[in-house]
Symmetry: C2
Subunit: 253 residues, 2 copies
């Protein structure tokens, strides 16, 4: 049932219920529980009202596509709940997941007019959607929003470089250890449980993120489990039984 939702939200087959304008409501953003994590954190009341005027809410079900690589970049998004993966494909189907996005993460500012990657929900996810033209107009008007976005982009660049180091130079064990620690750190930053860390994505998604196959990911989890560095718990949770050893592994020592 991987593709119960074949249509992407930005495709022609958008169900009306999926994109709800929220502009009419009394300031949906001021009630937003994850605002401090997002682009909307630290905005003035004025800025937030302008943003709230153009925002819609998008709901995605597991496996549902938000947009595909090459689609015209009509919207920018901010994840408010759930997990979204962004990925690039080769013509023969090889897939590289370039990032997992969690509440607070921003996506959709392409440098030309089409998305440079596809985006798909890992589990049930909710996003704020901004028409790109209007969003960019707001950026011109509110430079400190732009500064916040620049800082987020710089941070993502640093993360991307770390990922290149992982993909280019780390072994399978080092990659998996790094991945678990990243997930854990990210959860901590968002105020979620960091030790039995929640791993919502499939082995296949993890493989596509780490440049490995499903089988190698699975085998590596088994190795780490037998070495008592981790333990697999029900509900997709993984306990970091020996965090120090994991850190050592991840850093390549």
């Amino acid at each position: 049932m991987k593709h119960r939702f074949l249509e992407s939200v930005e495709g022609q087959g958008l169900a009306p219920a999926l994109r709800r304008p929220e502009g009419g409501l009394p300031s949906p953003c001021s009630a937003c529980a994850v605002r401090h994590l997002t682009i909307c954190g630290g905005l003035t009341l004025d800025e937030m009202q302008h943003l709230a005027a153009i925002v819609s809410s998008v709901e995605l079900y597991p496996g549902q596509s938000l947009f595909q690589e090459g689609d015209p970049a009509a919207h920018a998004y901010s994840v408010t709940a759930g997990t979204v993966k962004i990925y690039k494909l080769l013509p023969d189907g090889r897939c590289q997941v370039t990032g997992f996005l969690f509440p607070g993460d921003f996506l959709g500012l392409a440098d030309n007019d089409s998305y440079a990657y596809g985006a798909e929900a890992v589990n049930h996810a909710v996003l704020c959607s901004y028409p790109r033209r209007k969003f960019e107009a707001l950026l011109e008007r509110f430079p400190d929003m732009e500064r916040r976005l620049l800082n987020m982009a710089n941070h993502e660049l640093a993360v991307a470089q770390e990922q290149m180091l992982l993909l280019g130079r780390k072994t399978a064990k080092e990659r998996v250890a790094s991945f678990l620690l990243m997930l854990s750190q990210g959860a901590a930053r968002r105020g979620q449980r960091e030790d039995p860390v929640f791993v919502p994505m499939s082995r296949s998604d993890i493989g596509d993120y780490l440049g490995l196959t499903t089988e190698t990911v699975s085998r590596t989890f088994t190795q780490l489990r037998k070495a008592k560095l981790i333990s697999l718990e029900p509900g997709g949770r993984i306990a970091l039984a020996d965090k120090d050893a994991l850190v050592q592994l991840a850093e390549g020592a």
Copy 2:
């Protein structure tokens, strides 16, 4: 002669001649031949004068380090001549080159206060240097400079994702083909020769960029040469003898 210059320019051992303030000169930037490629392209006269007031020039010799990962991020730079590599290291010496920078490229806007990567000259290179605090103050004053920087950052993010696809999912042949085409495209963008493309970096640097060993890079060049897709010319130039086939290869078809 890899390490004739052990000191990095930002280290304590900076030779005085290497960093020359140019603020006193009559607008060094207005005479800059590569301005249209850089952050300085499309600035107003006012903006350019403010930028010129804080700029210095830095000259690097082959193999010389500009700064290392973890150094306090004191300056931002713009490459005006030559080639610079940026890289990350693992404690045991494994190296991942995360980018080669050419005239027009910008570096040094770290998201915290230290550089997240090292930078080193591949060949004789010249950079414009801006004290980071002053540069950021200028950004606050001139939002369109910030917008230009945001666009550059977004572009670099797209490039980084392409590189993750390469590192995670492409074969050695595909990586080398992709690399040569990227170099060629970049040269074209800067108005340099794109067909016998100039390859200033060593096999070892290329390997560290593509997640391969020197030997594999060398072997792959030989393969491509024997298959008549490329031909190695003197002076570090490579002719793309069968560009269509290279494109096919690079895209993984």
